[in-house]
Chain length 499, copies 2
């Protein structure tokens, strides 16, 4: 490719990508390394970088280049780098230029204010302190939606920011299937009696947990020359540059379950690491959507990390590392404990089954709010009613109810469904891998995960954002998004066995 305009577009996009990668590093550093005194200056610097990246992306010359490059796009294979870069950039560009910079500024300011209010509101379980902020967010969302062509449903526009091209109606259909299957499954499991998992909450030295997590990740594909693992209060993954993958986790002195959060973040990191190197410094150089990303974090956390075959290999090693705590716990007890299904109040602590009910509840409330069928003031009552209906859980206060997550305070309406979409997609891909590679369990029992990683790398990770999420799912699995494999998996793995 020696078309000067294409090269010019690449240069401009490389600059924008570098700015946003720099912002990623500032964000990571703020949470992991920065002395607290730096907060005010960091907020300013982050805002400058994001504003500049946005300004330079929506600049008129990029629009002109995209117009002038239509010929190249149409004359190249759909799968080619050139065609994909122009196509995906045009979609991003058209979306970004629809929204006036003033509104972008208002939304980002509202999010900052609401996030500041959310902490104390949650602390004091005082929904009223957050209410006006959520009302402002909803007003702004309506103005945002009006920037676009009229959608089938208002919620479509919000969802598109996290799961591009996905429609609310599709998600509703998938979630209806989940609800129909999972509500009775939760009930069956509840009736089968309690599983004891109290031994997971003994005293476990955080440094030893970290070492054990690194031993797991080392077998998954983590190497010191391209990855880091640091301690934070809220685990996340960040990729401040190609081949520079940073995981964080929160190893706590009386809880072993951060091992799973670590494998979760590893899944996000592995997806980012696997994007083809030729896509670096372009808008194609990352995972394609939150749903696809979550499918990979959940794959490594749950499909691998909570499987019998995984623990066949690792449990003896875990017992050795924590012999005082686990001496009298056998592998089967351990496996059942880490897979215990039990309705509870808090989404991020939920098991594989009930997690989805937390998501469905939020998805439904978000639609009702944005369509004006539910007033913000009535949100806590609606939340509590639905927790009782779906999970038979009584919400004692808003801190453990509607205030538990920061997403809404941050203006993130349309984000939650991607978590369950990720679960659903993870099983579609998983079934496909199993068809192609045969029995993975034998390898897992020997601590071998290379064939899984390589398959995912070759078929999914490498694609980056070249295709839409739906195209990506279809290329990898051969079918559209489909809840059946996931429901089947949950039932096979977690339904009570007939005595």
């Amino acid at each position: 490719m020696t078309e000067p305009k294409f090269d010019r577009l690449r240069e401009r996009l490389a600059e924008v990508t570098d700015l946003s990668k720099a912002a990623t590093l500032l964000f990571w550093d703020q949470r992991v390394m920065m002395p607290p005194g730096g907060s005010a200056a960091r907020a300013e610097a982050l805002s400058t970088l994001s504003t500049l990246a946005q300004e330079r992306f929506v600049a008129a010359d990029i629009g002109r280049l995209l117009e002038d490059l239509r010929g190249i796009e149409e004359g190249s294979e759909y799968e080619s780098f050139e065609s994909s870069l122009i196509r995906v950039t045009r979609r991003d560009y058209e979306k970004a230029t629809r929204v006036p910079p003033d509104l972008v500024g208002e939304m980002s300011k509202a999010a900052a204010l609401a996030l500041s209010a959310w902490g104390p509101a949650k602390e004091e379980s005082n929904f009223e302190a957050l209410r006006p902020h959520l009302e402002t967010h909803l007003e702004l969302k309506h103005r945002y939606v009006e920037c676009f062509d009229p959608p089938d449903e208002t919620y479509d526009v919000l969802l598109d920011n996290y799961e591009p091209d996905m429609k609310t109606a599709e998600v509703r259909e998938i979630f209806e299937q989940l609800k129909q299957q999972l509500v009775p499954l939760v009930q069956e499991i509840g009736e089968a009696g309690e599983v004891d998992d109290s031994f997971l909450r003994q005293s476990f030295d955080p440094e030893s947990q970290r070492e054990f997590a690194l031993a797991i990740l080392g077998r998954f594909g983590y190497t010191d020359d391209e990855w880091r693992l640091d301690q934070t209060s809220h685990p996340f993954q960040a990729t401040p540059g190609y081949a520079d993958i940073r995981l964080t986790s929160n190893f706590r002195p009386n809880d072993l379950t951060s091992l799973f959060a670590t494998m979760h973040e590893f899944g996000h990191g592995l997806y980012e690491r696997g994007v083809d190197s030729t896509l670096a410094r372009t808008p194609l150089g990352s995972g394609v959507s939150l749903g696809l990303h979550e499918s990979q974090s959940r794959t490594w956390e749950n499909l691998v990390g909570r499987s019998r075959s995984f623990w066949r290999f690792f449990y003896p090693r875990l017992q050795e590392s924590f012999s005082d705590q686990l001496r009298s716990v056998d592998e089967e007890q351990f496996y059942r404990a880490i897979n215990r299904v039990h309705p509870s109040l808090i989404r991020i602590d939920a098991d594989e089954v009930t997690y989805n009910m937390h998501i469905i509840l939020r998805f439904e409330l978000e639609q009702e709010l944005i369509e004006g069928r539910l007033a913000v003031k009535d949100l806590p009552a609606a939340w509590n009613e639905r927790m009782a209906a779906y999970l038979d859980v009584e919400v004692p206060n808003d801190a453990q109810g509607v205030l538990q997550d920061m997403h809404w305070a941050g203006g993130g309406f349309g984000y939650f469904p991607t978590y369950s979409l990720g679960n659903v997609i993870s099983l579609q891909i998983w079934e496909r891998v199993n068809e192609e590679l045969g029995d993975l369990d034998q390898g897992f029992e020997r601590g071998e995960f290379d064939s899984l990683r390589e398959w995912l790398q070759e078929h999914l990770y490498v694609l980056g954002r070249k295709f839409t999420p739906q195209e990506t799912i279809e290329r990898v699995t051969g079918s559209r998004i489909d809840a059946k494999p996931y429901v089947r998996y949950l039932r096979e793995k977690l339904a009570p066995q007939p005595a």
Copy 2:
């Protein structure tokens, strides 16, 4: 101040400052945290940030604003924020816009290439591998010098990048005084016999050294909420944002002297930390020159950290921390060891006296090179001759001679003299502090450093870049730069006592 054009200038400068602070964080992270795999992407991101910061600083609208604000500058007090910001920015702007972007690009590329060549060249002690790069640098420097009005001496233009407004003739006069005094002093000390400092190179646990360093810094004013201290191979200080000060040090298992390098970096950090908060996010928000900066790192490293009164307080504690190694070393032996004067090959390991001879040698060779009196091919021989003349040291190979520093490879001609200027200035300020506060030693003996820190903060650090380096020195000390206090100090402290 409600002048919209002044506000606009501040906004534009805040953006440029944020970009360069972000670059500072990327630089720090690269050396301290980044997995090596991230190198290539980081180089790209750093180059984008620096280029963008430069582009947006030399933009025509900043030039127009500076013109339009002449009235405000002249109508405000010289010391005022407004006048200083416009005045200093104009100087920076006029300098930056003199140099064509192409030449800036060529110089930065030449530096990158030469730095890559320097590592292996030093490794193999092969000057020829670096020679063509130095020749290129000198050609580029001549083109750079031609961008400016004809100077008194060519070297003035290079020096100005590190010590603004300082003239080569002034430096030469100061260094002549140093040379006249220090060459005989080194000889006297040599004749007085050897001091044993071998006990400084026993086995010392690096983590315990770090703890001890933090105990010292804690008494100096380091607090966890605004500072960090990390391990690196080449110690440096970075300030990626206001009240976010990052020191690095290299605690080695068989060398206690990193304590001094840590106090040195602390001095740099304290200067940056002390700049008035109203100057943050402007070009005034940092230390004023390398010379002034070095005066502060040397103050905390040498004037405080190698003083008797400092160790009166800390030596019993050090003995406690390293009792096996230091049990049989008394305070006087320790004091003499850390102040041992001994001519040696390597600048960064040199003592307070001979250090300056290393600098003078480089300063002289740089002038001869830039004026064409010395050819690059003859540089190693000239180096070796002068090492024999000034320090009576024979250079066994170029790795330990002309190739030891990376500065020249990086294109940093004119940088070295600031090290000795810093030494000189440190004593001028020190004498002034002592005049005003009386005997500091009594406080040091009790581990108290607050009055020193507060004086420096109030009289020097707070000024940032509001005034030129010379104006700054005069405001703080009441006189121009002057070598006498420094020479007096060295002689009083280090000359052999009559028996």
